[in-house]
């Protein structure tokens, strides 16, 4: 069996890639994808932790898996709003580059 550490390291790597993606990429869609990567890194960690603890204690533990369902559902709702916003801004600016969203300064 694959040890739990491997899952946790993978999820930490995914989370870091997501965070760096949000901070360095300038396309709103790519930033949004990076955020999704962060959420999925958390999902992976939840499932891995829940399973590892189940094996260790012999007791069923549903909290982790249930949280993942909530995250997936909420992420879907976020996609609906986020893509609508991106489409709106593309209609008026013909671009979704976040560096060009600078009509306000101070």
């Amino acid at each position: 069996m694959i040890p739990i550490n491997y899952y946790i390291i993978l999820s930490a790597v995914l989370f870091t890639i997501g965070t760096l993606g949000v901070l360095t990429r300038r396309n709103a869609l790519i930033i949004f994808m990076s955020v999704e990567l962060m959420l999925n890194a958390a999902n992976l960690a939840f499932v891995a932790f829940a399973r590892a603890r189940e094996i260790a204690t012999g007791q069923p533990l549903f909290d982790g898996q249930i949280f993942v369902f909530f995250v997936i559902a909420v992420a879907a709702a976020e996609v609906a709003v986020g893509l609508a916003l991106i489409v709106e801004i593309f209609k008026s600016k013909r671009s979704i580059d976040v560096d060009q969203m600078s009509s306000m300064k101070g």
């Binding site: 965070t19 949280f67 709003v81 008026s92 101070g106």
Partner: protein
Amino acid sequence: MNLTPQDYQVLTPYILLTVWACILLLVDLFIPKDRKGLTAMLAALGLALTLGFILSQIGIERVGFSGMVVLDGFSTFVNALLLVSGLLGIALAYGYVKRMGIERGEYYTLLLFSITGMMLMAQAADLIVIFIALELLSIPLYILAAFARPKVESEEAGMKYFLLGAFATGFVVYGTALVFGATGSTELSAIVAYASDGTPGLLLTIGAALILVGFGFKVAAVPFHMWTPDVYQGAPTAVTAFMSSGAKIAGFAALLRVFATAFPYIAADMTDVLWALAALTMIVGNFVAISQTDIKRMLAYSSIAHAGYILMAFVPYGNPDVRDVSIAAGLFYLVSYAVTNFGAWGVVIALEKNEGRGLAIADYAGLGKKYPALAAAMTVFMLSLIGLPPTIGLVGKFYLFRAVIAGGFTWLAIIGVLTSLVSAYYYLRVVVTMYMNDGEPETERETWLGLTTGATALVTVLLSFTPQVLFAWASEAVLKLF
């Protein structure tokens, strides 16, 4: 698991408000385009009914849904404050959306959904519920910030708020995952039970720190504040008024509940971080506000600075002797900030005109001569934001500094006093412009707007004479938290 009527009693306010909002969404379809004021009235009625129900529950304490949600004095206090904020938000928006040509029924429905999320934040006792509540309050606010589309500023505000908000959510979720990994539970009471037997472990500390980062974004603490000025400036002003009070109250309520209930055993690690966050937020917020010429941007930085003052109340959270009094001081400060803030934004709304005109501080010249009542109200709000008598802002800062000094953080209190002095410069500049400079400002006369501004000004002054009543209620609310 069996659900009893008691479980549902804990959640009745949400069920009431959610059902009301859903029905309102349908009813709104049958209200003609030029009569959308009716939707506003119905939304306000829903809030008032919920407020009545919440107030009828004072003194009841209960845990529902197997420890997922709690009903206690703390949640009742915060929920009442949030519902009043919602009512003020609707009163400010009533004429504003009509005048700006963005009057759509969805505005009020989204406001109701957002308030439901905020209220759930105050009552959550499980990290899953906190996550759901956080999203329920944020997603409607993203839409509301972009409500004035196709105005580019508003769309940009919505976009920036959305991207940074989703980023913050990522931190909260990952932090929750690590806390779950360390403790095997997402329930706040189980997390605290795990850590009480000695060493909390690195995983738990990192998880708590990531949750703090996520909430730092939500309440606009430095260095997670970059989105705030743009979003507050670009969003429709009535939305900004609601967002800057409501989202802040809910964010701090959840932060308070999570840290005081679940993480008291890592206070030694967290206190320094919170100290630095509070100090940085006060310093950066107040100093950057000095150079602003746009009133919305200035008030945005002012709201960042006030997040720093409220954060001060968290610093001694691990010290059981002063914890209760400092949390009560934090709650009191939230009330005083919310009242003053709504009033100040109300004055901004009164002077704002189409196409974003009337928003420079220079546009306030001559207000004192032409509209003495409005100028007097604005003076009261500015004095309260500085923390000068005779306003509630002074009392709030007094309680806060006293609690922080009692906790042994004298330097933090000194930074607080010094930055308040700095803030006097930019707040008083508005007052000076109103009374000393000549100009011909134009204001909008709207019944609800005038009533809101007048009432908040009155409360700001009157509460400073009898603050004990409110403070006693806040202390009561906190004692029942644990």
